[in-house]
Amino acid sequence: MLSLIIWWSGIALESILLVRGLQAKLWARYPVFYAYILFVWLQSLLRFSIFHSRPQYYSAVYWITEGLGVLVGCAVVFEIYRVGLAAYPGTARMARNLLGFIFVLASTKALVGAWNDPQWWLISTTMDLEQVLRIVQALAIVALIALFFSYSIPCGKNLRGVLLGYGLFIVESVVWLTFVPLAGAKFHQFWYQLHPAFYFVILGVWLAHLWSYLPSPDPERAVRLEAQYQRVAAATAQRLREARGYLAKAVRS
């Protein structure tokens, strides 16, 4: 009963996130992220129905959707880069080249490893592949945050939510994928309790940050220009006041 409630609560929160995305037109700004949420929502429904109608296919469906989810997740990381660095073309180009290189390197390594392993379709190898890709995503997120820090790049509330939620999700996935093959049944039971709680936290972060559209702060250049303009305008107003004062004095005398 409890697992049913957890399952349906997750689906309900994902639905709210999707509906808010549509209402606030956030899906147009973060299309890949909302495609990912839609994918997760459909995946939850599919897994749920397979689990109850044809449990013998559940494992296959689980791993296929899991693999697809990792690939869509890579696209989410690319989108975070695209949106976060949209106003900084040089930094974005630099990051894109580095990110592309890291992804190609990791994918090649993973594919070569799978090719050399005659039983590459086994679950353990699929999990290894997923772990490699999740770690690459983790590295990409750390690199992006390092760029944000070093170049003092401000981040809007929406993007902050996407990045924070997805980052936490990656942390959880890496820990899970690392311990699953090693730990025993007790850890599995413990994790099955912890996982939904963690997932609700992630969905909560996304809902809190993506409830409505909030634009990202403009690059500092705009702030400086605005400040300069305001300074010039204030100085001009002051001079006009002085001139008016002189004029009044001249008229009176």
Binding site: P89, G90, R93, D128, I153, V174, V175, T178, L182, P219
Partner: protein
Amino acid sequence: MIGVWGALAGAIVLLLVLLAWARAEASSKDSRSDWGASDQEQGESVESCSLKIVSQLFSAPDSKFISGLESPGLENLFRRERTAVALHWVQETSATISRILQRHLEASRLSSDLEIAMEARILLQYVRLKLNCGILFALIHLLGPQRLAGAALHTERLTQRIGEALREFQSAAQLREPDGAGTP
């Protein structure tokens, strides 16, 4: 494929970075409107000391003159004062280097033709200078400033050179992108 400790380290690093970033973002949200003004204030103080002052600060003749007076108290006082000034100079130089890099990063983030090699070279130069300052700081404590004139002048020259190079680089970039590179 990846060891348990490697994967766990990756997860922990990501978690810590995420938390630090979220905290920094939250705390900087209010002060963001003051950035322009504070940058301009900082910009005024990016200039470093002149080579002449540095060379005098680390030179031996003053020390020899004080030694010639044969007053141990005065000599001690002189050594203490000179060491304190030299240490202050190292700290100031280190802060200047950080400000130069900060200004470069803030200016270059809007540039449309940022090059990885160039950025890496600047970062290496920055690390090298910071390292120089750290070593100088330790050596001044150990040996006193008089024997370190060469190293201090080298650091000052490097700081001035990197400052000038970055200023020229920025003005060239500004000339190349007069109407804002960030606009699509």
